[in-house]
C-alpha cells in the first residue's frame, strides 16, 4: 500500500512557464516532507523540504506547498528551465527519530524549448 503517491508519471512544461508537481500521502503521522531531484545515471539529490508546521517553503525558483487537511503537497518551479528536466521524488517521514523516509514513485518532468 503506497503511503506516498505521485499519480502523474510524467509532465511536460514549456520553458519559462510554471511546473507543478503533485504528491498525496495517506499517513497522517507524517510530519516532514521532502522533494528530491534525479538526473539519469545519478542518485537523487535533495531539493527542498517542509515541516508540517508550515504550509509553504520557498527556495529561489522552488516552492513547496503543504495542505495537511487534504494530505497533499506540491512543488512549484517558476520559471521552468531546461536543466529542470529530471525525475522528481516526493518523500515523507514521521516525527520519531527512527522513522524512515517513504518515497513516491517519482514524476518525470520534461521542459520543452
Amino acid at each position: 500500500d503506497q503511503q506516498v503517491k505521485q499519480n502523474s508519471p510524467s509532465l511536460s512544461v514549456q520553458e519559462g512557464r510554471i511546473s507543478i508537481l503533485n504528491c498525496d500521502y495517506t499517513n497522517s503521522m507524517f510530519d516532514y516532507f521532502l522533494w528530491y531531484k534525479k538526473y539519469p545515471a545519478e542518485g537523487p539529490t535533495f531539493l527542498i523540504s517542509i515541516s508540517s508546521i508550515k504550509d509553504k517553503n520557498e527556495d529561489g525558483r522552488f516552492t513547496v506547498f503543504l495542505n495537511k487537511s487534504a494530505k497533499h503537497l506540491s512543488l512549484h518551479i517558476v520559471p521552468s528551465q531546461p536543466g529542470d528536466s529530471a525525475v522528481y521524488f516526493c518523500a515523507a517521514s514521521g516525527g520519531d527519530r527512527d522513522d524512515k523516509i517513504i518515497f513516491g514513485k517519482g514524476t518525470r518532468l520534461h521542459i520543452l524549448p
Binding site: 516532514y32 521532502l34 523516509i101
Partner: protein, 116 residues
Amino acid sequence: DAMVIQNPRYQVTQFGKPVTLSCSQTLNHNVMYWYQQKSSQAPKLLFHYYDKDFNNEADTPDNFQSRRPNTSFCFLDIRSPGLGDAAMYLCATSRDLWIGSGSEQYFGPGTRLTVT
C-alpha cells in the same frame, strides 16, 4: 568532490552467484542506508546503519546482508541473487537518523545490478 561513491556503477552477476556492492562516503555521516529501486518504482529501504548499529527493515529478504567495517564504508551482500533482485541499488547517508532540516539524505549514483 563526490561525497557518496558507489562501486561498481554497473554489475552483472549470474543467478545464485554471490555479489557485493560497495559504498563509501566522505561526509563523516553517522547513518548509511541501502535502497533498492526497480524500474518506475519508489526507492525501497533495505536497511541502515547508525554508526555500528544495524537496523534491518522487516520485509528485507534474508538474501540481503550488509556490513559496515568503519564510518566511511558500507557493503551490500546479496548471497544468492535471483532474477527478481535485478535493480538499481542506492546508497545514502545522513548526519542523523532524524530526517529534519540539516539532516537530509545524500545519495550516491547507484549500482545497477543485472542478474543473468
